[in-house]
């Protein structure tokens, strides 16, 4: 198990969800993961991966600065606290963050339904395979 050299999994994942496709939505995804309660950096990354069933494969390094950016914009508040016997920086959704998340959800469902309506094949299930 230990001698698995360069794991091919991340290649497959990158094909499933390309990182640059995710980046524009990263803020909303992070806010959404924090809706259930405060989390620290790596717990946020794990939650993103778990919720996407492992298909979300963006460089984890970009999540940490995104947290700082959301904090600067007042959507998260970050503070050092002791979690599991270790000092960690924990992030909590603010009221403004909650509003931003709600707005992003509305935007996304409108956008995706429009795109879906256009992309849907005109004559469903009539093509031979």
């Amino acid at each position: 198990m230990a001698s698995r050299m360069p794991s091919p999994r991340s290649w497959v994942d990158s094909l499933l969800v390309r990182p640059d496709a995710v980046r524009g939505h990263l803020d909303g995804l992070i806010l959404s993961v924090l809706e259930e309660g405060p989390r620290h950096g790596y717990a946020i990354i794990e939650a993103l991966q778990a919720r996407s069933g492992g298909a979300l494969d963006l460089p984890t390094g970009t999540v940490y600065p995104a947290l700082r950016r959301l904090e600067r914009a007042g959507r998260l508040s970050g503070s050092w606290s002791t979690v599991g016997g270790r000092e960690r920086r924990t992030y909590t959704l603010t009221r403004a963050g909650r509003h931003a998340l709600a707005a992003q959800r509305t935007d996304w469902s409108e956008f995706s339904s429009v795109v879906e309506a256009v992309l849907r094949p005109p004559r469903p299930a009539s093509e031979p395979s």
Binding site: P59, P65, R68, R72, A73, G74, R75, R89
Partner: protein
């Protein structure tokens, strides 16, 4: 000597630490958070069955190259320092001008009478100073509010803050020097014999130093990740 294998996680963290520019307290927090996160990732990979070395390499690979992360962090460092400088500018410069105006109007600064021409010049310069500090304060508040935006270019905002602070301080210092030269007798009296005057000069100098230092820190926090002066700031820790 041959067993000096550098831990990939520590090497990655060290590279990040070397690359960031800005207030050291914020930088330390960033580095600590990343180190914690990588340690968590290594732990998770080890629980998943990888050995220590492979887990560390995986954590570093998942994190991505430091060069991709530094510009993102540099935006935050610049925005934070820019916001602090802008707020300081918005408060300190008008407060200083108000203090001087108060001293003048209450007669604390009375000394040997000035020549009418000199008095008029000093008055004009004082008006100009009030105007400069007022405009600078409003600009600073505007720029500070821009640092709360999630999008846009925080480093450009921070650069504008630094330029505003340096030019406002520069103009105020220049006109202050001119006022004291034009009205040298009174200025000398204030500086040598009036405790209130001495305090006012000291407070002014302190404010100028404080604002200049904040502006210089803001310029430093702009970083060098995508700037041409990579060599200049390569070493200072």
């Amino acid at each position: 000597m041959t067993t000096a294998v550098l831990d990939p996680v520590e090497a990655h963290v060290a590279e990040l630490e070397r690359s960031l520019r800005g207030p050291s307290k914020v930088r330390r927090g960033i580095v600590r958070e990343v180190r914690d996160g990588l340690a968590d990732a290594v732990e998770a990979h080890r629980r998943g069955g990888l050995d220590a070395g492979e887990a560390a390499r995986r954590a570093v690979r998942d994190f991505g190259p430091v060069s991709a992360v530094v510009p993102l962090y540099q935006d935050e460092l610049a925005a934070g320092q820019g916001r602090r400088t802008a707020l300081l500018l918005a408060v300190a410069l008008p407060a200083l001008m108000l203090g001087w105006d108060l001293l003048w109007s209450t007669g604390f600064m009375d000394g040997p009478p000035a020549a009418p021409a000199a008095a008029a010049t000093v008055k004009g310069l004082a008006r100009a100073q009030d105007l400069v500090s007022g405009v600078a304060a409003v600009t600073a508040l505007l720029l500070a509010s821009l640092t709360f935006r999630r999008t846009g270019s925080p480093r450009r905002v921070a650069a504008a803050v630094a330029v505003t602070a340096l030019s406002a301080v520069g103009l105020c210092v220049l006109s202050a020097v001119a006022m004291n030269v034009v009205n040298f007798a009174q200025a000398w009296e204030r500086l040598t014999a009036q405790p209130v005057g001495q305090f006012a000069y000291a407070a002014s100098a302190a404010t100028v130093l404080l604002l200049t230092r904040a502006a210089v820190r803001t310029l430093r926090a702009l970083g060098t990740a995508d700037g041409p002066d990579q060599g200049r700031s390569a070493r200072h820790s």
